[in-house]
C-alpha cells in the first residue's frame, strides 16, 4: 500500500512523483491541525440522548428483553442502541480520534457535518418505522442512514490514505469500515426483501440473515474498533507501550477471518459455525494477553475510572465467548430457554461489553474535548484546571457499581423471562446512566463558566528573561 503524507494527497498523481523524495523525510509538515470539538461532541450528545431513551424504554417495556427477540419492539430497541447510541458516539469519537491516533488530519469536516444530519434523520426514522413495523419506511430511512454511513466511510477512508505510517490501529479501523459497509448493505437487503423486493433474499432463513447482520455490525464495527483503538488508548492512559506488535496484529487478523467465516456460516446455518466462533475467541484470547502485557508494563500504577470501566467491559468478553461457543453449536435445540440465552448473548455484547467500554472511553474523551476546546488557548497565560478536576470520581465509582448490578439483575430477568427483574435491572441501568449524565453536566458546565485563575507566579512576565 502506498503511504503518503497529507501534502502529497492534494497533488495530482502525475505530479506526486516529483514530490516523493520530500515525503520520505520523517518531518511532519506543519499544516496539521485537529478538528473542531463541536463536531464530535454533537455526535456524542446525540448518542447519550438515544441511550437514555433506550434505558427508559426498557423500564417501561421490559417484555422487549423478557421475550424472544424476533419482534418489532425488540428490533426497534436494538437499532436505537446500535445506531442511535453506539454508532453516534463511535463515529463522533472516530472523527476526533482517528486523525490524532494515526497522526494525520481528517479529510473533510464538512462531510462529517453533513453526515450528522443524515445520521440523525436516518436512525430516528428507522427506529420509529421498526416500531410500527412499516418495512417501506424502514427501507426509506435506512437508505438515508446509509447515505450518512457512506459519507463516513469515504471520509475516514480518505483520512486513512493520508496516514504516514500503517500500524495495527489503522488496520483495525480499515477493517471496521469494510464491515460496516457490509452490515448496512445486508440490513438494507433484509428490509427490501420484506417489502417484496430483493427476492433472492428468500433463499435465506430470515432469522439466520438477521443474526448474520447483527454479528457483522457488533463484531465487525464496534468490537473491531474497541480492540483497535484500545491498542492506542490504553498505553496512552496507563503510560505503557504495545509489548508485541505482531501479537496485536494477529488478534485483528483473526477477528477478521473469524467474522468472515461466521457471517457465511450463520447466514447459511452451516455446521462449521463453532469453528469460526472458536477463531474469534482465539482472537480475543490473544487480545487479552496483549492487553495484560501492556498493563503489566505500565508506568502509572493507579488506574482511573474511565480505564476501569473499559477494562471491566473487555473482561466481559470472556463470558460472552463462552455463550457464543454454546450458541454456535449446530445441534442446539431452539426452545424458550435457548431463545432467552440468545437474548442474554445480545444483551451482554451490547450493554456489558460495548456500552460499558464506550462509557469508559467517553469518560476520557468528553473531558478532554471540553478541556481542549475551552482551555488550550489559555495555557501559559492563565492557570487552567487539570483534566482530572473536571469529573467527579465519586459519581464514577457509584455509576460503576450500579452498572454491574444492573447487568446481573437484567441477565437474571432475561434468562428466566421475568419482566419484573428486567424492569428493575433497567431501572438500575438508568440510575447508572444518571451518574454519567451528572458527570457530563459537570464537564459541560466549564463551557458556560470557564474556571480560569491568574497564574500563581507570573513567570511568563519575568522581564529578566527577555
Amino acid at each position: 500500500m502506498e503511504v503518503s503524507l497529507p501534502l502529497s494527497n492534494r497533488v495530482e498523481p502525475s505530479k506526486r512523483e516529483a514530490l516523493k523524495p520530500k515525503n520520505n523525510s520523517p518531518v511532519q509538515p506543519f499544516n496539521i491541525s485537529t478538528a473542531s470539538i463541536a463536531l464530535p461532541l454533537s455526535f456524542i450528545l446525540a448518542g447519550l440522548l438515544a441511550l437514555f431513551t433506550g434505558a427508559s424504554w426498557l423500564v417501561l417495556q421490559p417484555e422487549i428483553l423478557a421475550a424472544y427477540h424476533y419482534n418489532a419492539n425488540a428490533i426497534a430497541a436494538t437499532h436505537l442502541f446500535a445506531l442511535g447510541w453506539l454508532c453516534s458516539v463511535v463515529m463522533g469519537a472516530m472523527y476526533q480520534l482517528v486523525p490524532v491516533a494515526l497522526e494525520t488530519k481528517l479529510f473533510s469536516e464538512r462531510l462529517a457535518k453533513i453526515q450528522f444530519v443524515f445520521h440523525i434523520v436516518g436512525f430516528v426514522g428507522m427506529v420509529l418505522a421498526f416500531r410500527v413495523w412499516n418495512m417501506k419506511f424502514v427501507a426509506a430511512f435506512g437508505s438515508i442512514f446509509a447515505i450518512g454511513v457512506a459519507l463516513f466511510i469515504y471520509n475516514v477512508a480518505r483520512t486513512l490514505l493520508r496516514i504516514p505510517k500503517w500500524n495495527v490501529i489503522a488496520a483495525a479501523v480499515a477493517s471496521a469500515l469494510g464491515w460496516i459497509l457490509l452490515t448496512v448493505s445486508a440490513g438494507l437487503l433484509i428490509a427490501s426483501a420484506k417489502t417484496g423486493h430483493a427476492n433472492f433474499m428468500f433463499h435465506f432463513n430470515p432469522i439466520g440473515a438477521m443474526h448474520a447482520h447483527a454479528h457483522l455490525g457488533t463484531l465487525g464495527f464496534f468490537i473491531m474498533l474497541i480492540v483497535g483503538v484500545s491498542y492506542k488508548l490504553i498505553p496512552m492512559f496507563t503510560l505503557s507501550e504495545i509489548q508485541n506488535h505482531r501479537r496485536a496484529l494477529v488478534s485483528v487478523i483473526l477477528l477478521n477471518v473469524g467474522l468472515a467465516g461466521s457471517f457465511v456460516s450463520i447466514l447459511l446455518q452451516l455446521v462449521v459455525k463453532p469453528l469460526f466462533a472458536l477463531i474469534i475467541v482465539a482472537a480475543f484470547v490473544i487480545y487479552g494477553r496483549e492487553m495484560t502485557a501492556i498493563l503489566r508494563a505500565r508506568k502509572r500504577r493507579a488506574l482511573d475510572w474511565g480505564v476501569r470501566y473499559f477494562l471491566t467491559a473487555i473482561a466481559l468478553l470472556a463470558p460472552l465467548s463462552i455463550l457464543a461457543l454454546i450458541l454456535s453449536w449446530p445441534k442446539l435445540p431452539l426452545n424458550p430457554f435457548t431463545g432467552q440465552l440468545e437474548n442474554v448473548y445480545g444483551f451482554v455484547a451490547f450493554v456489558g461489553v460495548i456500552s460499558f467500554a464506550v462509557i469508559g472511553m467517553l469518560y476520557k474523551i468528553i473531558p478532554f474535548l471540553v478541556w481542549f476546546g475551552i482551555y488550550s488557548k489559555h495555557i501559559g497565560c492563565t492557570q487552567v484546571p487539570a483534566l482530572a478536576e473536571m469529573v467527579s470520581e465519586k459519581l464514577q465509582r457509584l455509576g460503576y457499581g450500579i452498572f454491574l448490578t444492573a447487568l446481573a439483575v437484567t441477565i437474571f430477568g432475561i434468562l428466566f423471562s421475568n419482566a419484573m427483574a428486567v424492569r428493575i435491572g433497567s431501572a438500575f441501568f438508568a440510575a447508572s446512566l444518571t451518574t454519567l449524565a451528572l458527570n457530563v453536566g459537570k464537564i459541560l458546565s466549564h463551557y458556560f463558566q470557564p474556571k480560569l485563575a491568574p497564574l500563581a507566579a507570573p513567570k511568563n512576565y519575568d522581564r529578566n528573561k527577555n
Binding site: 503510560l239 488557548k377 495555557i379 507570573p458 512576565y461 522581564r463
Partner: protein, 174 residues
C-alpha cells in the same frame, strides 16, 4: 477616517508582581470599532500576540530606548496606512525583530505524562521562552494537538521521530 488610540500602561503592574492579563483583555473588550490599543510593557508580551490575532488584531511591537516595549494593536482590515501613524514613529515589525541572532535552545522533557500534560508543560515553558530562543520538546507521541496552539501563539513546530520511538519537536518563533 482618523482612528483613536487607547493607551494602556501595564509596566507598573508587572513590576509590582501583578498579573496584567485580565486588565489587558478587558481593555481590548472595551475598545470601540475605530479605536486601537497602545500597550506599554516592560518586555515583549509574546503570548498576547496569538490571542489577539485570533480576535482580529494586528500588532506592531517596538523596543523603546529604556528597554521597555510599546505595542500597537489595531484591527486587521488590510489597512497598511496604520503603520505610518505618527504616534508610533517608524515601528519595526515583529518579523524583523525575530530574524536577529537567535539560537539559544531550551529543553523540555514531556515524556512519561498522560495527555494533555505534555502539551501543558510545553506551552507553559513556551510562555516564558526568552526572546529569540527556541524550544526542544521531547514527547512519547507525535504532539498532534500542539501544532494549532503553536501557530496561534506565533510559533512553528517541526517534529521528528527519534530512534528510541520518542518524538523531538523543535519550536521556533515564526
Amino acid at each position: 477616517m482618523p482612528e483613536k488610540i487607547v493607551t494602556l500602561d501595564v509596566r507598573e503592574d508587572i513590576r509590582n508582581g501583578r498579573e496584567p492579563f485580565s486588565k489587558i483583555m478587558s481593555a481590548v473588550a472595551e475598545l470601540h470599532a475605530d479605536e486601537n490599543l497602545l500597550l506599554l510593557a516592560p518586555f515583549e508580551p509574546k503570548p498576547l500576540f496569538g490571542l489577539l490575532t485570533r480576535q482580529g488584531f494586528n500588532h506592531l511591537a517596538r523596543e523603546m530606548e529604556n528597554g521597555d516595549w510599546e505595542i500597537l494593536f489595531s484591527r486587521s482590515r488590510g489597512d497598511e496606512a496604520l503603520i505610518e501613524k505618527p504616534e508610533i514613529p517608524k515601528p519595526k515589525t515583529d518579523q524583523s525583530l525575530l530574524t536577529s541572532a537567535p539560537t539559544k535552545m531550551i529543553e523540555v522533557d514531556a515524556r512519561g505524562l498522560e495527555p494533555p500534560q505534555p502539551m501543558v508543560k510545553i506551552l507553559e515553558t513556551l510562555a516564558s521562552l526568552p526572546h529569540g530562543a527556541a524550544l526542544r520538546a521531547r514527547t512519547d507521541r507525535r504532539p498532534m494537538h500542539l501544532y494549532a496552539q503553536l501557530e496561534a501563539r506565533g510559533f512553528t513546530g517541526q517534529t521528528e521521530e527519534q530512534n528510541d520511538g520518542s518524538f523531538l519537536t523543535i519550536i521556533k518563533s515564526r
